[in-house]
Structures are given as C-alpha cells and as structure tokens.
Amino acid sequence: MLASGLNGITLRVNGRDHELAVAANVTLLEALRENLGLTGTKEGCGHGDCGACIVLMDGHAVNACLVLAVDASGRDIVTIEGLAEGGQLHPLQQAFLDKGAVQCGFCSSGMMLSAKALLDANPDADAELIRRELSGVLCRCGTYPRVIEAVLSVENGINRSGGEG
C-alpha cells in the first residue's frame, strides 16, 4: 500500500504496462475506463448481470465490474481497443461488421471478447454452444442471431485458411 492509502498496481492492458495507484475498492472496469480512458469497455449494470464489461484476463472472459483492480495487477488484460492488431481488424471484428452483428454497439465489446475467449478454447464451437456460451452478454438490440452467424463464419474462415479444426 502506498502512503496515500492507495495501492500501487501494474495493469498490463493490451500488451502495455500501466503503473496505477488505486483504492482497494476500485474495480477493473473503473480502472480501465477512468484511469486509463479505455471507454470501449462498457458498464451496463455494475453487478455482473449484463456482460457489457467483459474483457479478457489471462485469456479468460471476465466481468470487469466484478474484478477488483488490485486483483488484476500483473495479469494480462485485453480490451476491445486491443483486439485489432497491426492496423487490421481482428477477424471477429470484421465478421461482426459483415454479418450485421453490431447495432448500437454497446454490448459489442463484451460480445466480441466473449466470442474470442470461446473460440480460443473451442475453435469449432457449433451454433448451440455459441448460443449458450454467449448468453452472459445481454443485447437489447437483439443481435444474437447475427452474432452466432458471425462467430461461425470466423470458424469457417480459420478452417479455410488451413488452421486446425
């Protein structure tokens, strides 16, 4: 703990380390949005009910509103801002656009990062599994059918380009 009563932490976000001083009760969501200005991660409820705040922590999808920033210290965090690499959209981002899986977009970062965690663990998830695994992200615009199609299309893309699967 620092003299200020705050905790010194190192947040590794999208491949970069950030030294932060945060109170013990600050959530990862607050640290990302307020301390780092990474507002692509959204708050839809603050209680773990909506999935808008989902980010990847060591490759797993977590609700950033339920994780304390101090507990995220030293872990590897990926937010929506870090999904595109080398000036190229991630295949999931491209597929979400092409298949119309984004409407207002407020749930989309949570949706895409959940989908990434799912695909990383399970590269040929079928529609049923996708539907079940993404059920933690609420989308009032009702993009679910498009999301499932988008995720499936990425899998097929991977298959076509000779990846395992």
């Binding site: 949005r33 200005g37 990474l38 507002t39 692509g40 991660t41 959204k42 708050e43 839809g44 409820c45 603050g46 209680h47 009910d49 909506c50 808008a52 937010t79 929506i80 801002e81 999904l83 595109a84 959209l89 981002q93 979400f96 656009l97 092409d98 119309g100 984004v102 409407q103 207002c104 977009g105 407020f106 749930c107 989309s108 970062s109 895409m112 996708i130 539907r131 079940r132 993404l134 059920s135 933690g136 992200v137 609420l138 989308c139 009032r140 615009c141 009702g142 993009t143 679910y144 059918p145 498009r146 999301v147 499932i148």
Partner: protein
C-alpha cells in the same frame, strides 16, 4: 453504381467494433463534476423537511440542490414534472435532491447524508381505483400546467388525458344490437423497461455569464428536447445547444429529457463546471420511464361467416406520476386497436390515468405492443369460435390496396395480404402438426398489425459538396444504433451522385444541424430520406449551373454519377478535378432540403374525420411455432416468421437486423418481462431479476421476410421498419399457445406459472360464459 438495395456495411462500423465511439456515458470534459441523486422512498408524500447541510459539508462537494433551487416543470405535452420534487413526491424514485461533486463516489457519499422527512399521503396504484370518485389526487390542479392544446386538463380527477373516437355512435350501437355474434375480451399489459444497454446519461455545462447551456446527450430528438428544456427553464431556445453523442439503443426510451433534466438543474450551480449524470441500472429500471401499462377491453360484432361489423374498445393506460408522451400513445397508439381491418363502425375510448408510479412514455411501437396483442388474440378467438381458419378470417377482413382507412385516407402500398400469406407459409400453416415429445404440445399462431407514423412532421437537411469531392450531410437524424447513418449515406450518395465513400454524415448538434422531428415513429428513413433527396437535388442544380458557365456548356446536359461529372456533349471529369476547375479555394456547393408530408395528395381524407392519417402505413405479420410443456407451463418458441411490408429495403442487412432484433425483443416482452411493483416500488430493479432475453431465451429460429409495396412518396420506395416487429410477436405466440393447448392468454407476460394456471383452470370444467349472443 446504385447503392440502393445493397447491404452496405455500417459506415461508422470500424469505430463501432473497435470501441472508439463516444457514448453519452463516455463523455469526459475538463473540470467535469459527477452527480448523485437522492430519490423519493415514498410513493406519495408531502415533503416536510429537507436537510442538506450534512451533504454540503462533505469533501469534494460543489452543489447540493433541491426543488426550491430549480422551480421548473418539464414535459413535451403536459409540463407537470418538476426537475426535483418541491412540495410533494409522487412516485418511489422521484428525484428530490441532486449533488455535484468531484467524483461519483464523493457525490454518492454526500447524497447519503441528505435527510428528507415526509408525511405520507394516500397513494393510488390501480387505474380503476385512481378514477373512482374520492380517490387521492396525484396532481391537485392539472389545469395549472403548461400543455399542448389537444391535452385538456381534468381537474379534481386523476384522468390525465381522454381520447374518444367514433365513426358514429348510432351506427356502432345498431351494429352491436343486430350482429349475429358479439365477442368481448379484456387484456392486461404490464409496464416494462426499454432496457437500452446504455443507461441514461448526460453532461451539461452552463456559462455563468451568458447563461447558455451546452448539453451532451443520447437523445432521440435533439431539437425537440431543446424546446422542452428551454420551455421548462423559461429561457430562449437560442440559449441551449444539444450535442448528440453515440447511443446504446433507444427503443422509445430516449424520448424525454431524463438524465438531461438533472444535469441541467445542477449545471447552473457549479460555476461553469460541467456536470455529468449517469443513471445506475437500478435507476433506469425503477426511476426513469416505462412502457405504458394498459388494460384493454375489446368488443367486436361479426356475422357468423366472419365479416366484422363493429369494433368498440375501452382502454385504460397507466401514465404514472408524470406525463411524457403517453397522451399520444393512448390516443394515436390506441387507435391501432382496430387492427389492419376494414371495420365500418368503430368506437374507441382511451383514458390515460395518473397513478403514483414511475412515469411511462413512448416504447418501440408506440402503443402497438399493447393494442396489437389485444386486437390479435381477440381476433383469433373470434375465428376459432366461428370455426373459421384464423388466416382466412384475417385475409377476409384485412386491408387491401385502395381500401379506405377509417380516417378516410385511401391506403396506398398495402402489403398486408402478402405478409399474411408468406408468414403463414413459412411456419407450414394448415399442414399437419409435427410430433413432439411426451408432455408437450405443439401449436402454430399468427398475428398481423398496422402501424402508421406521426403525420405531418418535418425533417430538414443541408448538404455541402466540398473541394475534395466529399459530401457532408448535416442532419439531426440521430444514429440510435439501427444504422441510420449508413442509410442516410446511401440516400445521399444515390441522390447526389458521389460515391458512398465520399459521404460523411454529421453527428447532430442543434447549433449546426437543421431541424428534425426525431428518430421516432419509424420515420427517419422516410422523412430524412426525402429531405436528403431534396437537398441533393438542390446542390446538383447549383453545381450544374456553375459547371455550365465554367465549361461553356448548357446546364441541362450535366450529370454527376459515382463522383464523375459528365455532360451529354462528351465531357467527363473526375469530381475533384472538376471542382478544382470550378471555383477558388474554399468554394463549395450547398443544397438544402426540407420535407414534410403536409399537403401530400396521399393524405386526402374525409372532411371532419378526427382519426389520424399517416403518410405511410406499415403492415406486419408474424407467425409462430411453439411447444408448450404441459407439466411446467413453459412455452418454447421454436420459430417466428416475421413478414414486414417496409416499402423497399434500402439496406437489406439493416432491415434484417431490425426485424430479428425486434422479434427477440417481442418474444422477450411476451415471455419474460414485467416490472413487478409493491405499492409503487419496483421490486425487480436489477438485470438479474428483471430478465430480458439472452441468446438462450430467444426464439430458436427467426425468419425475417421482407415484403415490398409501392408508396409513391417514399424515398426510393422505403417506408420504415423500426417499430412494428416488437408488437406482432407476442400475439402470434399467444395464439400459437392456444392452438397448442387451448388456453387463451389475456395477460402478458406468458410466464410458466401463468400458462400452467391457465392449463389447470381449463382442465377443471368451468361454467361457460358463452351465452346465446355474447361471448
């Protein structure tokens, strides 16, 4: 190359998928303060004492204000809502004190120190009780409120608004008296939350010298919000500027100054520092606005061979404590209870009632999620009891091209019959029922609806063709998430002749972008589409006149297509090059367009008729396949076929998004959603307890079917698509449940408990109310 009818990818798509869009909740300004709100814990009480001294002494606090500090009343139709409660509170959750502090936490901690003492008053929650003589009055003197002419005050009563319509009382009476059969049903539709995923949020700053306000807001109609706020503050509209942010969905919920009102109230007291208000999810669910809960009684007179002779409806609509757009929902929305049918005799009474509950307002479909449910389940029962095929019964009475609407308007572009037939075919209508598992029953159901648009309203647009060949479209049509910017870009490219990549659609800013009535009533595509078309034609005319003099050719022969300027004489030039030749640096070509359907020949109707006409009518049919679990009452929606007559699809993928998305919402409303109240207090104020459809709850299969029809005034044929789907899904499901297991569902939502109770009640023989004439 035409871009109409193409599924152009969202023009702001890259920002949308990379987390770069700035929503209202993301707004950050230098020296910005954060707000917290103390809300009423009482449904109806006199405020005895407010002690803010403890709050003022807390660290980081800049302003703590009460209703005395902002004696303002707001409301687009009836200005009955104080920014902060003054003498009394009228619903649990009403804002009483607002705090602005350096951080959200400091604001919240200060808010916790505020002491409010109340003296309880008797409260009313039930609409019928509220209308009974001697009921406690939610508002003592409604006539003292500023209001629009069509909203008459009813002092001494909780009646907020009365709307009546009849084609002729005598005719209606005679039709009912002489009819072979008369049917009557009463339906209840609960209050639900729009539940846009982005909570309400706004930032406001007030210049302490000029008194001018700038507001960053996620609102569906910035120019109208501006007038509402200006009127409430009693200042000129020139003193307010609204800058629209990206927004995380609307669904009608962004049709009032909900967070804006609180940000504006505080901004006056912070020495020019901006104040940000963000609602918690609990506040969104319990203390913002809901769909209007309704109780709808529908009566119909028919011949035994299924001809509709008369329809009477008596409807109660729950306004809650304050008035937003519900008078219009009860009035114009209420008229859709007649459905898309030829009915010669109509009598409608719609009463909007004040109660001590969270206010209600517009909700996707503007009354049709209530009326279409009532109309279509009622229609189904008539068909079943007359032994008619429900599809045939609807086709027999449904509007066809050239029919007269009951407002007297001749209907143009009626895709109803096709929508009925195609939706029915998609679910295998008339075919044998598939076999389902033990303890399960299968059923098919169908429901159709009609939805007009608020008419006449105005949209204006300015286009600027600038030196680098880009076309800037200045419009106040908001991108609410449905893809408006993309469709506007398609219109602008098509109408101007520049490539779609050259088009930039502005973010609305009331100090820059011209008036638009708003992103409501499924109107943006049609109205702004026409305004863009006019603006582009205007711009092209100017461009060609200048081109004629620069190139020494007659203006008539010029054309601009795909950003290439050409002339019949053979001249062909890239647009940028042409523009370079045509003017000094900074030279641009502008065009202006204002569209209103007022005066359109399509609106011709009977003189003296008081029903609303509409510049376009949307026709929709949903057909459902369900499986009912007879043990648990659980309804599984296997399939929804959603056929939408939307004129023409400008961007088919966007249309599919709208249709699928609203089917997901519609089935969510049908099966899951209801704000549960205990003496006015919302009990399920979290997304855990107020459940909306997740990917697992949605129908297992959704088939969007696009039906095209001709409306001569529609821009490139497009009518609209945003609202209707949310309305037709519930009755289709209810009717499918009846087909499966024989129970009528007259209360939404169709929870397992409710369905099971209906199944059990049916199993025990009940006395039949089917008299010789009335049933």
């Amino acid at each position: 190359m035409s871009v109409i009818g193409k599924s152009i990818t969202r023009v702001d798509g890259v920002d949308r998928v990379t987390g770069r869009l700035q929503y209202a909740v993301d707004t950050v300004l230098p020296r910005m303060l954060h707000a917290a709100v103390v809300r009423s814990t009482k449904a109806h009480a006199r405020i005895q004492r407010v002690d803010v001294s403890g709050a003022r002494a807390m660290p980081g606090v800049h302003a703590v204000i009460t209703g005395q500090d902002v004696p303002c009343l707001i409301g687009g139709m009836i200005a009955d809502q104080p920014f902060l409660a003054t003498d009394k509170v009228r619903f649990v959750g009403e804002p009483v004190v607002a705090v602005a502090a350096e951080t959200e936490l400091q604001a919240q901690m200060a808010a916790d120190r505020v002491i409010v003492e109340y003296e309880d008053l008797p409260a009313v929650f039930d609409m019928e009780e509220a209308l009974a003589p001697g009921a406690p009055l939610v508002h003592e003197q409604p006539s003292s409120y500023r209001r629009i002419a069509k909203c008459q005050a009813h002092d001494g009563s909780n009646l907020c608004h009365l709307h009546e319509f009849t084609t002729g009382a005598e005719g209606v009476e005679r039709a009912f008296a002489q009819a072979e059969r008369v049917f009557e049903d009463t339906f209840a539709v609960p209050a639900v939350s729009h539940t846009a995923m982005e909570p309400f949020a706004a930032v406001a700053v007030c210049n302490p010298v000029s008194g001018e306000y700038t507001i960053w807001a996620a609102t569906d109609a910035p120019h109208r919000r501006l007038s509402e706020i200006a009127a409430a503050l009693g200042i000129g509209s020139e003193k307010i500027r609204i800058i629209v942010t990206a927004m995380g969905g609307g669904f009608g919920g962004r049709g009032a100054a909900i967070a804006e009102m609180l940000a504006v109230a505080l901004a006056k007291f912070t020495d020019g520092r901006p104040v940000k208000v963000v609602f918690s999810r609990e506040e969104v669910l319990a203390a913002s606005q809901t769909r209007v809960a309704a109780k709808l009684t529908v009566r119909t007179a028919v011949t035994t061979d299924g001809r509709i002779l008369a329809r009477a409806a008596d409807m109660l609509w729950d306004n809650g404590a304050y008035t937003s757009k519900s008078p219009e929902v009860a009035a114009r929305g209420g008229m859709t209870v007649v459905g898309p049918y030829r009915v010669p005799n109509i009598s409608i009474r719609s009463r909007l009632v004040y109660t001590n509950k969270q206010p209600s307002g517009a909700f996707r479909g503007f009354g049709t999620t209530q009326t279409s449910y009532a109309c279509e389940v009622h229609m189904e029962r008539i068909a079943v009891e007359l032994g008619l095929d429900p599809l045939e019964f609807r086709l027999k009475n449904g509007y066809v091209e050239g029919d007269s609407h009951f407002c007297g308007q001749r209907l143009t572009g009626v895709g109803l019959a096709e929508s009925l037939k195609r939706a029915a075919a998609s679910v295998g209508w008339g075919r044998q029922k598939p076999v389902v598992g033990p303890g399960k029953r299968y059923g098919r159901g169908i429901a159709c609806m009609i939805k007009g648009t608020n008419t006449p309203t105005v949209s204006s647009c300015i286009v600027r063709l600038v030196a680098d060949g880009r076309l800037h479209v200045l419009t106040s049509s908001v991108e609410i998430g449905a893809g408006q910017k993309t469709v506007m870009s398609q219109f602008a490219a098509e109408a101007s002749g520049v490539t779609i990549e050259s088009v930039r659609v502005s973010q609305p800013d009331t100090s820059v972008t011209p008036f638009d009535f708003g992103c409501t009533s499924s109107r943006s595509t049609f109205h702004m589409g026409n305004a863009i078309r006019l603006a582009c034609e205007d711009m092209r005319a100017r461009l060609f006149v200048t081109a004629a003099s620069v190139f020494g050719l007659p203006a008539e022969g010029f054309d601009l297509t795909d950003s290439v300027l050409s002339h019949a004489s053979g001249l062909t030039l890239g647009l940028r090059e042409a523009l370079k030749k045509m003017g000094a640096r900074g030279f641009e070509f502008m065009g202006q367009g204002t569209y209103t359907p007022a005066g359109s020949p399509l609106l011709k109707r009977d003189p003296g008729n008081t029903a609303d006409d509409s510049i376009f009518w949307l026709f929709v049919t949903h057909a459902a396949e369900v499986e009912v679990d007879m043990e648990t009452g659980r309804v599984r929606v296997l399939h929804i076929a959603a056929a939408h007559d939307l004129g023409r699809a400008i961007n088919p993928l966007n249309c599919i998004q709208q249709i699928e998305g609203s089917v997901v919402m519609g089935s969510s409303l049908a099966l899951l959603e209801e704000l549960k109240l205990d003496r006015g207090r919302v009990c399920n104020d979290s997304l855990l307890d107020y459940k909306i459809s997740s990917s697992e709850d949605m129908p297992e299969r959704i088939d969007p079917i696009i039906i095209e029809s001709d409306n001569p005034e529609a821009p490139w044929g497009a009518k609209g698509v945003g609202e209707p789907a949310a309305a037709a899904t519930a009755p289709a499901i209810a009717n499918a449940v009846h087909a499966a297991c024989g129970v009528w569902l007259r209360d939404m939502p169709f929870t397992p408990e409710r369905v099971l109770a209906a199944i059990m009640a049916q199993a025990t023989p009940e006395k039949t109310v089917d008299g010789h004439r009335s049933s």
